[in-house]
Each structure stands twice: as C-alpha cells, then as structure tokens.
C-alpha cells in the first residue's frame, strides 16, 4: 500500500489534492487537509461549500475523482465504506441513517456483525453489555426496547451517534451536522459525549456544523470551506476575522 511521505505518526488523516466533480460541478476542489490525532476539528462554510461531500469522500460513500486520502499513512480512497468503518472511520449523516423498524438496542448491535471486526458477534453477551452501557451514556437506555421510528428527531441523532461508538477500533469520527434540529438538552448530551470520547478514548473528531457556539466550545481548530476549497484554518476567533471568510459568508 502506498504510504504518505509526511507521516510522522501524529497525523491521523490526510487528504491530498482531493477533488470530486459531479458532471460540470466541482463540489470539492483540490482540497488538502491534515487532521492531527486526538483533535476535534470543525469544518464550517456556507451551504454548498462541499463539507458534506468531503465527509462522503472520507467515509467512502463517494469515490474521489482525483487526489488521495490517507488514514494513519495508509491510502484508503479506493476502499469500500464498510472496510473503512472497520479500519476505524465512523460517520453520522445529517438525515440519520438508523434502522427504523428495529429496536434501539438492536440498532446498536448491527455493527457487531462485521467480518472485518473479528466477528465480535461471537461474544454476544459482552457486545450487548457494551451496547447497553453506551445507551446509558447517551441517556437512551430507557428507550432500548422501543422501535427506532418512535424516537424523536434528536433521539434518533443520539442513537446514530451512539451506534458509532460501539465500533472497535474507533479512530476517527465524522459528524455531519450533529446539532441540526436537536433540542438544547440533547445538544448538551451530544457535546458531552464527544468531549468524553475524545478525552477518554482519544477518538479524533471532524465535525461539520453551522452551530457556531457548539463549534467554539468543542473545536480547537476550524477549517473553513468555500466552493470546494479550504479558504482558512485556525481557531474560530482567528478565522472569523479573515476577510475571505467574511466574504464567503456574506456572499461577497
């Protein structure tokens, strides 16, 4: 497998000249991004700036038109989504992809049936225990036997996030608009779980969001995207004063 030249062990994810075109539209345009191990990186930018496409490229939903993606120095941009998941890249979707006709607990157990994860389902009882602990962690335990479709929008988002935490190893968690349409109480639970997973398990996060207060509280560094390119990077305060960023947001 081709490896990244600049890998110093601290960089968990690198995209190099990553480009995705849909017909005549270039959604992601020559994007090079470095994510350090253990950071919580925010990705912000106006609508249509390519944030979700970037998440889709990293998680394997889309295949890159050109460029490369490296996880821990190993090239991953040709791998199938489930293989990337088993390597430790988890994601959530803005419109949560849960299994609506399964119970909350069953939703949590689905990732265990994965041949590339050492067939963890053979340790059924332990996996169920772990799933229940995670449900307690995100305060959904009391709903464990309810069908997922009976949950509120915010609870479905929580369930989707919690389901990712059961994947092992968990290296990089990509979240696409985790706070969209979520009430403040659940927003708090999501932020706490991100911080705790980051602190306790060293999980790296990439969070796409329009919620600036949440980004400010969670993310040390923020990358700003506009028209498929990265136009700025730094703390939220730093990027907020860069003229190009202001222009992008007010459509200048």
């Amino acid at each position: 497998m081709e490896t990244s030249l600049a890998d110093n062990g601290e960089r968990i994810l690198e995209t190099r000249d990553l480009t995705k075109t849909f017909g005549g539209l270039t959604a992601v345009n020559g994007l090079s991004l470095n994510i350090e191990r253990g950071e919580i990186r925010g990705i912000i930018g106006p609508n249509g700036s390519g944030k979700t496409t970037l998440i889709n490229l990293i998680s394997g939903i889309y295949r890159a038109s050109s460029g490369a993606i490296y996880l821990d120095g190993a090239r991953i941009d040709r791998l199938k989504p489930n293989v990337r998941t088993s390597m430790g890249i988890i994601r959530t979707f803005q419109i949560p992809k849960v299994f609506r006709n399964m119970t909350v607990l069953e939703n949590m157990l689905v990732p265990a049936f994965s041949d590339s994860q050492g067939d963890r389902y053979k340790y059924g009882r332990e996996v169920i225990q772990e799933a229940e602990d995670l449900l307690r962690f995100v305060q959904l335990y009391h709903m464990r036997d309810e069908l997922a479709k009976t949950l509120s929008g915010g609870q479905i988002m929580l369930l989707q996030i919690a389901r990712g935490f059961i994947v092992n190893p968990l290296k990089l968690y990509l979240m696409d608009e985790p706070f969209a349409g979520v009430n403040p109480q659940i927003k708090g639970v999501i932020m706490e779980s991100i911080k705790e997973m980051n602190r306790e398990k060293g999980v790296t996060f990439i969070i796409v969001s329009h919620e600036m207060p949440a980004i400010r509280r969670l993310c040390g560094r923020v990358s700003v995207m506009h028209e498929g390119r990265r136009i700025a990077e730094g703390s939220l305060e730093e990027v907020a004063n860069i003229p190009a960023v202001i222009d992008a947001y007010i459509g200048g």
């Binding site: 295949r63 989504p81 489930n82 399964m102 689905v110 990732p111 994947v167």
Partner: protein, 296 residues
C-alpha cells in the same frame, strides 16, 4: 352445497395459499434487501422439485422424503450463493448506483437457461415422486396427505425463517440492509455479503416450495412458471417488500381460488386470482401492506 364440501375446499385453499406464500416471501425477501426482482424464482422452485425427486427416488428411498427437503433447500441455498457471487454481485460493484436493468436481464436469462438445462438433463417428461403420506383428517375433514405434509412443512420452514431473521446476528444484518443500505455499510457490515446470504435464503424458500409440492404438482421443466406467477400475484396483492403482506395475500389468493372453484367452476381457477389482483390494483395499488415508495 353441503357445508362439509365447502369447508374441505376452504382448508384446501388455505393450505395451497400458505405454500404459495412461501414463494412470495422468497421473492419479497430478496427484493427488500437487494432491491431487485428475481425473475428466475420459479426455476429455483423447479430445481428444488427435481432435487427432491432425485433424492427420494434414487438415494433416500420413499420413506425418507423428509430428509430430502432440507437437503434440497441446502443445495439450492449454496447454488444461490454462487449465482449471486458470480452473476449478480457485479451490478453492485463500483459506485453506489446500481444498474437495475442488469438484474432483470440476468435473472430472465437464468430462467431460460435452467428450464432448458432441465430438458437436456432429464428430458421434457413429467415425474411423480411417491406420496409423502396417505390421506388424513384435520378434525372431521379429510385432507390429502401430501397437502397436509406441505402445510406442516411450510409452517415449520416459515417458523425457522422468522426465528433466524428475528433473533440472530445474521438476521439483524439482513433486516438492517433491508431498512437502510447506506446505514448498514457505514456501520461496518459488508452489504454484498448480506446480499449473498439473502439471495441464498430467498431461493432456498422457493426450493422448499418445489420439494414440498413435488408429489402434488409433479416435476417437470416448466413447473416453476405457475409458482412464479402465483408468487407475483401475491406480491401485487400483499405489497412488494412486506413479508406479513405475502403471508396474508397468499392465504387470500388460495381462498379465492378454491372458493371460486367450488362456487363457480374449477375451469377458471387462475382467473379468480387475476380478478383479485385487478381489484386490488384498482383500489389499493401499493398492495394491502405495501408502503408508498419514498424517493429520497
């Protein structure tokens, strides 16, 4: 019209209906996971009936017919796995978009191929395996032994199918794939492997129907055509993608056919089913249990 005769037809209708439902559940199960119609389902029914005939007549002997059924199912399950692996899986490779017409072409080609293969291997003849059981009674009503066996066998297989899908890790992955194909992949499950298992299970249900019905509807190269037709009628009635729908619609179709036969004339047996299909298409095009397709 005496009530004994009527209830006899009623029972016969329910029995045949639940066995038709086995075919329909196989079709709808494959559809709900792979989002493709397997047009060669009847040929798996046909292969199941040939295998059963071969096992009972040449290897196991007439008393061990009940051993033949699981063997036929298992063989067809593996045939299904390999057919999916080499003929159908290519349509899912590459981007997430699929070539839907590919599945139609391949499965219709398989239908033609397997029918002709049966003619080449065993000739265009009809074979009749020995009876599974002698006539028996359900309560006061006499019922053909073969039909009784088929009913009990179908109920056992459906029960097993329910347990596997409901309670096992594979079953969870199967249901997850049916409910959200993208979600299951980002949960780390290899959806192509799930497809393969689903196709194997679906066609083995057809093989079970073929093996169970062999002494009633006999064994010949095109015996699957009727079963496929009934399977699709049930799916239109019950709603594509709904397993409870297939069960209810199967019973309904069986009842309508046998009631039509006894009350009007048995010559038009197939017409009554079509009448029911047309009626349902007029009043509820999604079928009894079908959901309106949401296009994301």
């Amino acid at each position: 019209m005496d009530s004994l005769l009527l209830s006899q037809y009623l029972i016969a209708g329910l029995v045949i209906g639940i066995i038709y439902a086995l075919m329909a559940i196989g079709i709808t199960f494959i559809y709900s996971i792979m989002k493709m119609i397997n047009w060669s389902m009847g040929e798996f029914y046909m292969m199941g009936s040939y295998l059963q005939y071969f096992l009972v007549v040449y290897i196991l002997g007439p008393h061990l017919w009940f051993v033949g059924i699981p063997i036929s199912m298992a063989v067809i399950f593996f045939v299904g796995l390999y057919i999916q692996r080499f003929l159908l899986k290519p349509m899912f490779v590459g981007e997430m978009e699929r070539k839907d017409e590919y599945a139609t072409v391949i499965t219709i080609a398989m239908m033609v191929f397997f029918r002709n293969l049966a003619v080449v291997l065993a000739g265009p003849n009809q074979f009749a395996p020995p009876d599974y059981a002698s006539p028996t009674y359900i309560g006061p009503l006499p019922v053909s032994g073969n039909r009784f066996v088929a009913l009990v066998g179908t109920l056992l297989i459906l029960g097993l199918f329910y347990l596997v899908v409901r309670n096992t890790w594979v079953g969870r992955a199967l249901r997850g794939s049916a409910q959200n194909r993208v979600g299951i992949q980002t949960a780390g499950v290899n959806v192509l492997r799930v497809d393969q298992i689903a196709f194997g299970i679906g066609v083995s249900l057809a093989a079970a129907a073929g093996a169970l019905l062999a002494p009633i509807f006999l064994v010949w190269p095109e015996n699957g055509a009727v079963a496929t037709m009934k399977g699709f009628e049930i799916i239109v009635i019950g709603g594509l993608g709904s397993i409870p729908g297939s069960l209810v619609a199967g019973l309904l179709l069986g009842l309508v056919e046998s009631m039509g036969s006894v009350l009007i004339s048995p010559s038009f047996k197939d017409v009554y089913g079509f009448g029911l299909v047309l009626f349902l298409l007029a009043i509820r095009p999604t079928g009894l249990f079908g959901e309106r397709q949401r296009v994301a």
